[in-house]
């Protein structure tokens, strides 16, 4: 079978298409990530990386809405972040650590985001924390100046606006002359504040160093796209969503192609009332919008012990998605397969099989369905992306995945912050989805080209 595939014309044609090969590679990469995450969940790798684990996804890795690479955090954001770090560390060092039974264990358990306390004696850590507090107080002083300057700047802007309205040219010129020195003062204050924050960063780095080695890679990965409103890792959630997407895509496409092929082949081959019944089912089901069906199922299952976001079996909440899409998506495949089977059953090799004495069921299985494999293949890849796109839309609407990340929920969560130039969450989710869907579209196009006998 495989040897024949490698020699076949369709396969050669497919491999000549460079873009399609690259797209196949991209899909392979996604599949590898999918398998890694599934592996993490069913084995104990979660302890090593926590990339795929639920705790890892809900963990606060950075201050909220921290930007990803290529963009640095603003001054206010850095100030807020240090405020959070200092108050957390102070709470820790206020404890009487020296008299504890296992102080090192207590310290090792402390983590802010992905960072842990440096491996140093308690006294030294305490000294570093003192230093951090001093530096942060210094920042506070500079921050007051910066605040004042900003205040003045606002007042000046207001005064200029008022003067413009009054039409007092002389006053306007005088006010405008003040702009330049004020701007200078603001730049000075900013650079002072920035230096002071750098100093805090330095101490903080010593107290809670960035992880190195494998932990460093994980840290870099998890902070790559910044954090969302709750400080959770965007990259972690975006990559975890690949698992949900693949899961929905695989299950829905498999169910749909199986039902579609079976019913389509039976309808096309036997004809008569079976054909009429299947065609009636097809036209009935295709007149039901799957969104409505899904809404019905979602309300049916809401509050259910197992099917609605249960802690025990979180995967079961997807059953409603599988059902709604599986019930409605197979009709397209069934239509195409039915047409192809009606063509194939008139071919002479099917008649030859009848003449030899094979039963009709055997002929359908052995001679008819295998000759529709290419259609099944193409339909599978089309349904796969169809299911993923639907899952994202449904999750965005709040009907699909809940309690675990999905591209749809990510986009839905961050839509309010988009107007504040916070694009990392929407960007990461959309980008990963876009690349996957694009790759699948290219591959199914190439498959169609390769299998279509009209373009030799």
């Amino acid at each position: 079978m495989i040897r024949r595939m490698a020699r076949s014309r369709a396969w050669r044609k497919f491999t000549r298409n460079r873009t399609a090969l690259v797209a196949t590679g991209v899909i392979g990469l996604y599949a590898a990530i999918f398998l890694t995450i599934v592996g993490t969940q069913i084995t104990d790798w979660a302890g090593v990386t926590n990339i795929g684990s639920r705790q890892g996804l809900q963990m606060r890795v950075l201050p909220p809405k921290w930007p990803g690479f290529l963009e640095s955090a603003g001054i206010e954001q850095r100030y807020d972040a240090h405020d959070w770090q200092v108050s957390n560390l102070n709470r820790l060092f206020r404890k009487d650590l020296e008299s504890m039974a296992d102080p090192s264990g207590e310290l090792a358990a402390v983590s802010l985001g992905e960072r842990k306390l440096a491996d140093k004696p308690i006294a030294e850590l305490r000294a570093l924390n003192e230093q951090l507090n001093e530096q942060f107080d210094a920042v506070g002083e500079v921050y007051d100046i910066y605040d004042e300057v900003n205040e003045e700047h606002h007042d000046l802007d207001d005064a200029i606006a008022k003067a413009k309205e009054g039409g007092d040219e002389e006053e306007l010129a005088a006010l405008r002359a003040q702009i330049e020195p004020l701007e200078q003062r603001r730049r000075d204050a900013e650079s002072q504040l920035s230096t002071a924050l750098d100093a805090v960063d330095e101490v903080y780095e010593e107290l809670m160093p960035q992880p190195t080695g494998f932990g460093g890679v994980v840290y870099r990965f998890r902070t790559m796209f910044g954090s969302d409103v709750l400080g959770q890792s965007i990259s972690g959630r975006a990559f975890y969503s690949i698992k949900i997407a693949f899961q929905v895509g695989l299950v829905v496409a498999t169910i749909s192609v199986l039902i579609g092929t079976l019913l389509g082949a039976v309808a096309g081959f036997y004809g008569g009332w079976i054909d009429s019944a299947v065609m009636w089912l097809i036209s009935t089901l295709s007149s039901i919008p799957y969104l409505v069906l899904l809404a019905v199922l979602a309300f049916m299952f809401s509050g259910h012990q197992y099917f609605d976001n249960s802690a025990e079996y979180p995967e079961l909440q997807l059953v409603k998605l599988y059902t709604a899409m599986g019930l409605t998506f197979w009709v397209g495949t069934a239509r195409v397969i039915r047409g192809e089977v009606m063509k194939i059953k008139e071919l002479e090799y099917v008649q030859a099989a009848t003449a030899i004495g094979f039963g009709r069921f055997y002929i359908v299985l052995k001679h008819v369905i295998p000759n529709t494999f290419h259609i099944m293949f193409i339909n599978f890849s089309l349904l796969f992306i169809g299911a993923i796109k639907s899952e994202v839309i449904l999750s965005f609407l709040g009907l699909g995945v809940s309690g675990q990340p999905s591209w749809g929920t990510m986009i839905s969560n961050s839509k309010d912050d988009l107007s504040n130039y916070f694009f990392w969450e929407v960007g990461a989710a959309s980008f990963l989805m876009f690349v996957l869907v694009l790759a699948f579209n290219i591959v199914s196009d190439a498959l169609q080209d390769a299998f279509d006998p009209k373009h030799v």
């Binding site: 030859a352 003449a355 295998p370």
Partner: protein, 321 residues
């Protein structure tokens, strides 16, 4: 004793239409045909496209269910038998198809195609080797035994037709319907395949029904020929000398349409006028009356039956004595 007996065989295809998908008409493909084929004989069936010769062949081996009439094999009626009762006769009667490109499953190798048939009918005894049997078959039809591992698309048209012949022969049948087996092949390949079939027929003692639209091929290949026109047999004659024996005006016209391979032998060319009537509403009288030179008023209202004339010929015509 005759191996195959066909009595009043009729096949009509329903045409459905209207809102409720009712049967509104029929295509009269085969109408009331009777004949016998003796054991070891080769019967030719000729006629132009759409005259029902393929339908006749397929109905005889029950690829199609007859509307009326019966088919008997060695005196046993096979029409009306169910699937399992039919199985021993399926093995005895095989078919070779016209189009070598659609008659082989593109997903099965040659040996897989042959194997499934051999296994179904348990052709081989316990001690026999499947591989040896397939190799013998391959050699018998003039293919290399190594080719059995190949897929159909790796063969040429003539080779594919040989595989089709091997598939028909692998269950050791006694009767074969050859449905225009060479009309899709090049002339040079036609001769090879025809000679192969003739050799195999003599070697295995096969009885054959050879469907063709080429009178020359039938003359070369068959012992006896049925000439069909619009679902009816119009003449039945031996193939010793068709030019001399043909009596029916349609048979004569068919023979006249054959090119003559002698430039000095010039005869007036009789070209048939008009078209074949529609098989949906066939005329009440003789189907050929509209195109016939001899046609009288009687021909238009009364259908002639196939009967033995005074000359000893089997002809369906009022005007032939």
């Amino acid at each position: 004793m005759s191996l195959i007996e066909v009595r009043n065989l009729t096949k009509r295809f329903p045409i459905r239409g209207g809102v409720l998908n009712r049967v509104i008409n029929h295509v009269h493909a085969v109408s009331d045909i009777s004949f016998e084929i003796a054991s070891g004989e080769t019967l030719g069936v000729v006629g132009e496209s759409g005259c029902g010769k393929s339908t006749l062949g397929k109905t005889m081996i029950r690829l199609l269910e007859p509307t009326a009439g019966l088919v008997a094999y060695e005196g046993e009626q096979i029409t009306g038998l169910n699937h399992s009762e039919m199985m021993p006769y399926r093995r005895k009667m095989q078919i070779i198809f016209q189009d070598p490109y659609s008659s082989l499953n593109p997903r099965l190798t040659v040996s897989a195609t042959l194997k499934e048939a051999i296994k179904l009918h348990r052709v081989l005894g316990d001690g026999d080797s499947m591989d040896d049997y397939i190799d013998t078959l391959m050699r018998q039809v003039g293919l290399r035994p190594d080719d059995k591992r190949k897929f159909p698309h790796e063969f040429s048209g003539g080779q594919r037709q040989r595989i089709g012949i091997a598939r028909a022969l692998c269950v050791r049948p006694t009767f074969i319907v050859a449905d225009e087996p060479v009309s899709a092949l090049d002339v040079s390949i036609q001769a090879q395949v025809l000679n192969l079939m003739k050799d195999l027929k003599d070697e295995l003692g096969l009885t054959m029904m050879f469907i063709s639209h080429d009178l020359k091929v039938v003359e070369h290949f068959c012992d006896r020929v049925l000439v069909m026109y619009l679902g009816h047999v119009v003449e039945e004659l031996p193939t010793d000398n068709l030019d001399r024996d043909a009596e029916h005006p349609y048979t004569k016209a068919l023979l006249g349409a054959n090119p003559i391979d002698d430039p000095d032998d010039r005869r007036p060319l009789t070209v048939l006028q008009g078209d074949v009537p529609s098989p949906i509403n066939p005329p009440a009288g003789c189907a050929f009356a509209g195109r016939c030179e001899l046609a009288t008023d009687r021909c238009k209202v009364e259908r002639p039956v196939l009967e033995r004339k005074e000359s000893g010929r089997m002809v369906a015509c009022h005007e032939v004595a």
